[in-house]
């Protein structure tokens, strides 16, 4: 007979991991700060930044699997996206039973998409999800890796494009 699985076990482990990561970072930062020749306020800034980064990452990780609420700016009809009918958050809902990336792969893609400007990140993630749900299981790992490998360049490209667009808008009279 299979042993009973406690559904709260995963959540407990996940919380423990987050607490462990935050504690280690705080300890390392505090140790560096205490031996530093820099002023305290410089390290206070570092600590605050670290905390924000960790909190942001943690929240992003915990949001995987929840309905998606960010609005698209490109006005596309994007049914089948996360939060409605399919994809990361919606895959298990409504008995749709779509095949797709594993939880770990989904989380990595989700975090990478959060580093991109809003709508562009949404679109990248939606396209990745869509493709990964159709690709053969044997090829899925390589496909996810290829998305993650090109993500840093894409992040830079998309933010640069966004900055250029903003600069052009600010130059425009009126």
């Amino acid at each position: 007979m299979m042993p009973a699985v406690d559904p709260r076990e995963d959540a407990r482990k996940s919380r423990a991991r987050v607490v462990a990561v935050m504690t280690s970072i705080t300890l390392v930062a505090a140790t560096i700060a205490s031996n530093s020749r820099y002023r305290d306020w410089v390290w206070a800034l570092w600590l605050i930044s670290f905390t924000i980064i960790i909190a942001f990452t943690t929240i992003s990780m915990r949001q995987v699997g929840r309905p998606y609420r960010r609005r698209s700016a490109d006005g596309d009809s994007r049914r089948g996206r996360r939060g409605r009918d399919g994809g990361l958050g919606g895959r298990a809902r409504d008995g749709a039973q779509m095949a797709g990336p594993t939880a770990h792969q989904s989380r990595s893609l989700f975090i990478a998409s959060r580093l991109m400007p809003g709508p562009a990140g949404d679109r990248w993630l939606a396209e990745a999800e869509s493709l990964l749900s159709e690709i053969a299981t044997a090829r899925r790992g390589a496909a996810v890796r290829s998305y993650l490998r090109t993500a840093p360049r894409l992040v830079i490209l998309l933010w640069a494009r966004q900055a250029l667009r903003a600069a052009a808008r600010s130059r425009r009279p009126g």
Binding site: S77, R78, E127, S130, V144, R153, R161
Partner: protein, 108 residues
Amino acid sequence: MALRLTVQVQLVLQAFLRDPASELYGLELSEETGLQPGTAYPILLRLEHEGWVTSRWEDIDPRAEKRPARRYYRLTANGAVQASARLAGASRPSGAALRRLAEGGGVA
């Protein structure tokens, strides 16, 4: 800035030019070109930015189809002309370069 015609870009354009009126989605394109999907995506984005291709989300009910909507790409009229002209002037990728791409799905 003019689009740099890397081997990967050439492969994507050739796939589109096989039937310029047809629409291709990520997986189809990846299978036709042999490129990894993550490699093809930035190329499609650049082609779209240059106005060579347009894209749209497929209009389906994902619950009925049991899969998410696909994003379809299609060459624009200008894109078809430009791509044909640029490919005609481009040097053909070597066999070794294509083999490397097939093995590693290299980045454009």
